[in-house]
Every structure is written in C-alpha cells, then in structure tokens.
Symmetry: C2
Subunit: 229 residues, 2 copies
DNA sequence: GCTCGCAGGATTGTCAACATTTTCGCTAGC
DNA sequence: GCTAGCGAAAATGTTGACAATCCTGCGAGC
C-alpha cells in the first residue's frame, strides 16, 4: 500500500523473460507450440504425467499450463476426466473469423487515423513484398508476410486490446487456416486486397480502410464455408 | 463453447453444481464477484492468505482462481510480487468499448438475420420496458434491462464466440460504466436508440441493425471520453 | 546527515504425497 | 451368448509442507 506503483498498463515484455525460467511457462510455451504446430491433434487427450516427462517439469506446472490454455480456448477440460485439445468445428471457425473480421476492421480504421509518414512507407514496402510473394506463388512467404502486415496494422492502430483478442482467436483456428491455405487456390480478384488496405490506410481514410479489411476477410470466410462442402 | 462459465446462459446445470462444491470455483466466483461489485478496488493487493480465510478454501484454490482472473484481464500479477486488481485507465476503457462496439454490431447484424417471430415479440416487450424505465428515471432497472437486451440479442444471433468476448470485455470496465451511469445525464437523443435497434432487428435488416448498434455505442464512447475531462 | 548494506519478516512459487473419481477388464448370473 | 455388477489400476483433484524471492526497518560507515 505504501508503494503505489504503475497503474497497470498493458502487456508483458519483461514478464515474458522472467517467465521463461519457471516451469509453468516452459509447459505453457511447449504445449501451445505443440498444439499450434499440429504435433497434438484436436481431440487428443492430454495426460498430465505424459506431459511431465515430455517437458521435464512438474505436474503442477503442467496442470497450471493446461488451465492457461483452457482460458485461451485451445484446450477443453472435463471435470475428473482430463483435458483434450479442443476440436473447433467449421461453424465455430466461421464464427471466430466473423469476430476477427470486425476487430480487424476496427484496427484498420484506427490505423488509418493514426498512421504517420514512416508507417505508411513501411506498409507500402510490405505490400509490395506481398504482391511479389503472390506472383511467385510462394505461399509460405505469403503467409508470413500476411501475418506481419496485420501485426503492423495492429501496432500502428494502438488498439492493443483488439490485437490481443485477435491473437487469441487466431490461435484457435490455425489448423483451419492452414488447411484452407493448402486446399484453396485464391481467386485473382482477391490478389490485391492487401494493396487496397494499404492504400486506404495511406490515404488516412478510416471508413475505406475498414471496408477494405471487411471485404478481404469476407472472402476468407466465404472460402472457409465453401471448403466445408 | 469453451467458456460457458459466466457469459450468457448456463448451459450445463450439473457443472454449476459441481463447480459450487470445489474450492477453486468458490474462490473464482467469490473473487470475481467482489471485484465486480467493487468490494475490491483497482490497485488493491490480493494477498493469498487473506483470501484463504475470507473464502474458507485452500491456498491452492485461491492461487488457481487468481490465475483465472488474470486470464480474464481482471487481475494482474507480477512475478514474486503478488497479484492486484487491475487498474483500467480511461484510454484502455475506451479501447475496450471500441471493441465492444464492433462486436455488438456483429451480434446485432446476425440477430437481425436469424430472428424469428417469437424472438421479435420478446425484443419488443423488452424495448417497451426499457422505454418505461427511462421515462420513470429508474436507472437501476434501466441498467438491468439494458444488459438483458444485449444478452437476448447475443442469444438470438447464435454468435457465442462474440458473446463470450463481450462478456470478458464488459467485466473489465464495469467500474467505468458504473461511474458513467451515475455521473451522466443521458441526452434525449439517445433515449430511444434501443428502440431503433429492436426495430432494425424486427425488420430483419442486418446492415441497419449493425449501424444502429454502432451509433448507440458510439454515444457511450463519447460520453466516456467527455467524462475524463 | 545521507547512503549503503544487512538481517527479519512476510509472501509467493514449487514440489511431493494423499484422497477421489473414473475407466476398463473380469467374473457371475440370467 | 449377453448383460449387470464388482474390483483393480490409472488419472485427476487437493492438500500441506518446503524453498526462493522480495519488501522493510535498523545500524554502520563515509
């Protein structure tokens, strides 16, 4: 009480470093990585003792890590019956993408409001790289650049709350997105949607940026729906 | 889906019963309630041993409960330095409300798509009650009805992901909203925004419903901004 | 007079053992 | 031949004790 420290501001830069040491964070990072990487498939049981010897941490840490991932929606647990990797149905994935759509729209709009000249320059460079990756058919590079572009917009927008929510939502559907990227040949019309978004932000036109982002993600959602049939 | 803990509708009856028994859930509910009710003010330290004797559960349960609330953004914890009730700045509250704005817009749109005749009837009744509460100046009743209306839309929309996100976001800013409700005399123009939303949903016009919801929450955000000056 | 260093006390983080619940295989009975 | 009931094994949930870390107050030294 004597020490009224910093009013809680956002996130955790140094916390991450500190947490890297203790057992819980090793378990969290290991488990999250394994699930996101696909080493553990949806529906698979997570037996605590197995994870103990897999990660070399105590059972308490594993337990705590599972709690964390349950809160993130990556794992589901049933009382006295253990935990398993959450299986996200296509309908749920669509729901999640619809949330992402409006949140990314918000970010795009705010980014358009706040973007400075240097931000715009960086965005343009990234947009050009994206176009090249698409033209050369390098899907891996495209995916990486795509994520970086969204991250850049999030940073410019300053909407850390929205960015955080999107991060969580995305983690839940990486598998669907991966499948989508592999099975879908993107139509020519959607090739330059990123370019439009960049342009809208550069023009500092929030409404346009939001519309462009909405349109872009609507196409992804449509592709998701079609993939299910 | 993964989190049917708090938000809209208690799907699992027996889970509630089970959760009521074990220590962790008692601690979670108790702590969340205390924070939301304002019994514990932002910035206040949460000493584990104190909570132990307050709720009559073990320290492990308290610890686990704190982890849960950290994941929900209600509490922040610093390594080896304990946990405290998260202090949400006005800027952060505005950010959160902007997320809520677009998510509620999504829900309103989807609700307009899916609403059946009985849903519409229920909404109209609720809208009328809301109007009465405003006319009679009963702010407490207004607040309750307002929440119920939003919950009803969330249920109709079927977007449980968005509803869950909104539930979490809302919990983080109850304090701000409470202060806002007490200090602000709502302008006449915003009196019947709820009516407009209900009408738009009843007309099964998603775009209109989304616009109406956006406008409504934009006014709340504006009020929030003004309250800070 | 001020700063640096150092125990003392308090609080959190970790761990290993105990209790409870569920599941699966087996036997007995219809 | 099939189903119901029982018991052992495995996995989970819980508890209490131990170790590491941090804040506070006091005293010595410059």
């Amino acid at each position: 009480m004597a020490h009224e420290r910093r009013a809680g501001v956002p996130v955790a830069g140094k916390d991450q470093l500190k947490q890297g040491k203790d057992g819980k964070s090793i378990a969290v990072q290991g488990l999250r990585g394994a699930i996101l990487r696909g080493d553990m498939v949806p529906g698979q049981r997570l037996v605590e003792t197995e994870l103990v010897e897999l990660f070399g941490v105590t059972r308490g840490s594993v337990r705590s890590a599972i709690d964390d991932l349950v809160a993130d929606g990556l794992v589901e647990r049933i009382h006295n019956r253990g935990a398993r990797v959450r299986r996200v149905s296509l309908d749920q994935a669509i729901e999640i993408m619809e949330c992402r759509r409006v949140l990314e729209g918000l970010i795009a709009a705010k980014a358009a409001e706040r973007a400075g000249p240097d931000d715009i320059a960086r965005l343009r460079v990234h947009g050009e790289l994206l176009r090249q990756a698409i033209r050369d058919g390098e899907m891996g590079k495209y995916s990486t650049l795509n994520q970086e572009l969204h991250a850049m917009l999030a940073e410019i927008s300053g909407q850390s709350t929205a960015a955080d929510l999107i991060g969580r939502l995305n983690a839940q559907i990486v598998r669907h997105q991966f499948q989508l990227a592999q099975r879908t040949a993107w139509p020519r019309s959607s090739v330059d949607e990123h370019g439009t978004i960049v342009e809208a932000v550069a023009a500092k036109d929030p409404a346009w940026a939001e519309r462009a982002m909405h349109e872009h993600l609507s196409h992804v959602i449509t592709a998701l729906k079609n993939a299910g049939e």
